[in-house]
Symmetry: C3
Subunit: 319 residues, 3 copies
């Protein structure tokens, strides 16, 4: 099947998921991001790569944090950004998703950054644009349902590469609610694509999806076993709505079994790094001493995230 | 009576309504818009005509779609845009409309784009600015109550001119809830001003205002009769709140009598165009096959709408 | 104790409060603002002083008006502005204030403009940034609880200096709910710092805080006595929530005792000016005839407010 993210020349034209993305494309994004990391330190943090382009932040699901990162990335690329919180507007007027897209595309949008509670919504949009002869309008998935959050996956890879240089000899553990996590899914695909030899998933059985082994992931329900000698620990956010649900006894119980404490962190390699996509629940999935400790690279993730989003946007806008 | 939209030289300084606007002014707007249509196709979709000007989008009534078109138009003219959703702020603090305007004008606003649920609010603002010696601050009506939506009327005229070239031999039908429609009112004044010989209004008697004949409009309650041999069909959106009201039996009944179907469209001229201000209620006022069909020019309306708003804003900012 | 707003060279690096600010710094801000007043009258109202800088408007408490003034000031300095209404986002996800700040700082923010219902929040943020080695990120207090609103205080000083030239022989009366007013507190510190010989506080005993005399303020509960021969009257907004509270009988009663009427204004010097931070409650703290009268300088305050905010932002960004 044709990869809907790539054009005829195999170049990235949408970013919908990391699954199936050629390693060369992933590497190109990381390399390009690298050139943008420096820009954020400069006096004038702007490049004119997307000057006069119109980027629409289409957030059908509220996320100030992610929206902000894309807004900043767009502005540093000199694009014009329009923020649309769609749940509050057309959706309430009964307009369909694709009618909304048609309308915005007719305003000569160059790029849609889409966050949607429904898995697959960005695909649907990209397919619709292609089917109607408007494949010059680009789509970036900023998180769709439980499916994918590719820019988070890419910024995680950037962070790992920054601290570990080489993917080919790493053991990476992802800890928490893998079942509901689009971040976990994107990370697993990215790690596999980049040749990480051992990817582990750690969590309670109720929060581990089936099929992880087929993706090449080793599954652990015991955190101490799972953390043994890992190079990278990616903690996941425990969604508030899960904590009160049937899948988990309580936040306290969760922390007792799967919270990352200083003592548990000691089971990993001494130079292991600790990552988290944020926002953190201190005392639920991670101890504050670890979150603020020397091995945490959680804030560098945020910094790299801007550069990675600039890279994705400028690459697809140029293709 | 002096037209409050024109300055002493007869130049457009506010856009409040199409009623009473000289044909030369309307034509100037359409001609200027024409020069902007090309800009949206360019690599860099910006012109510096309003660089450093401050445009305030004052939306006392929520409308993401209209607000977005003005925001894009402003940014493509290089203006600085400030979005203000007033219902949620000062209004709740009990500040009067004119105190709000005085304050924003004191911040050296150059233009107010005003959407308000009360008919006449933009007039009141324009008059107040003039009365207090600040006529250099411009007002654009982005829809006031049931009264007027002049930029929608102008973009409809642009669309008709684009497809039909000449207004002097057209028959144009406006279909639906004429009574509550500011779009209908603006379209009727624009069509009359531009010399369209036959303007028709089609709808159930309960949704037809009195006085249409005095405006030179032919009234039809039977859709088949009204659509006969027309060149242009402008469908109106049926507001959700009407559908459950006393004025209409139900959405299904409405569609049966006044929905634009393929079969009914065949009564119009073979090259008739179908317009709609959006957002559409598919299956209520228009059949999907028509909305997506070859005669529909609904998305071009949106595209032209950006150029028309750029034209209006740059013309009045220059006067 | 070291003043946390100043760097080692005694230059302003945050603006948290006027209390303790050297007179030279206050004067520098007013002088710089003076150079910006002219810019707002120009055709292109922009200077490139903050081009490529990222300013975050962090409004933990809603205030469209104040947010707008900072947004305009930022845009006229050519900065990129990101508006964040935090109450609606991360706060609801349970993230702590300092985690939010850490994240935004990691996006290479240059400046935080902070409005918060809790007194001291901007201090906490500035201290945290310094403690974690990020003192190049600047904080501007846009109003914290009952504590301070320094840019309002500064724009009030600018206004007084504009009309009265010299502070050294003035009598200034502040009228209303001094107890709950951060504006009053900032004005008192500013007036004292600039050498105003007589500062008066006028209000009902229930709305006068203790300790005013220690600040060098003369206290009056009788408005007629308090207004006698003053040069400047600063009216405060009566918060709606007070009017229904135990501290006040009713809005009508309040107006009867402390409303500024034409007749009472006559007790002040003939050339006295009337100020108000807005939004006004006409008929509660001020009569409309006074608000719109020749002695009112309420709208000039707004205009000067933009220039003063531009001055503050550009000065601290440069230090």
């Amino acid at each position: 099947m044709h990869n809907p993210q790539l054009n005829k020349n195999g170049e990235l034209t949408h970013l919908l998921t990391i699954e199936g993305l050629p390693r060369a494309v992933v590497t190109q994004i990381l390399d390009t991001a690298s050139s943008f990391v420096g820009i954020s330190d400069r006096e004038v943090k702007k490049v004119p790569l997307m000057r006069g382009k119109s980027v629409f932040n289409l957030f059908f699901e509220n996320s100030t944090r992610t929206r902000t990162t894309f807004e900043i990335a767009s502005k540093r690329l000199s694009a014009d950004v329009i923020n649309l919180n769609i749940s509050a507007s057309s959706a309430s007027k009964g307009e369909s998703l694709l009618d909304t897209i048609d309308n915005l595309a007719a305003m000569h949008a160059d790029m849609f950054v889409v966050r949607h509670a429904q898995s697959g919504a960005p695909y649907l949009i990209a397919k619709h644009l292609t089917d109607t002869g408007r494949s010059h309008v680009h789509v970036v998935n900023a998180g769709d349902g439980r499916h994918a959050h590719p820019t988070q996956g890419l910024l995680d890879m950037y962070t790992i590469r920054h601290y570990k240089k080489d993917f080919s000899n790493l053991t990476v553990a992802i800890v928490g609610d893998i079942l509901h996590s689009r971040v976990a899914r994107s990370d697993i695909h990215a790690l596999t694509t980049l040749g990480v030899p051992e990817v582990r998933a750690i969590g309670p059985r109720t929060l581990l999806p089936s099929g992880l082994e087929q993706l090449g992931v080793r599954v652990f329900t015991d955190m101490r076993e799972g953390l043994k000698d890992v190079d990278v620990i990616i903690m996941l956010r425990l969604q508030n709505e899960r904590m009160s649900g049937a899948l988990l006894p309580s936040a306290q119980e969760y922390f007792k079994s799967y919270g990352l404490t200083t003592e548990r962190l000691a089971l990993a390699k001494p130079d292991a790094i600790v990552m988290h996509p944020g926002p953190m629940n201190r005392g639920v999935e991670i101890e504050s001493a670890v979150a603020d400790g020397a091995q945490a690279v959680i804030l560098p993730q945020v910094t790299f995230g801007i550069a990675v989003r600039m890279a994705v946007m400028s690459i697809i806008a140029g293709n």
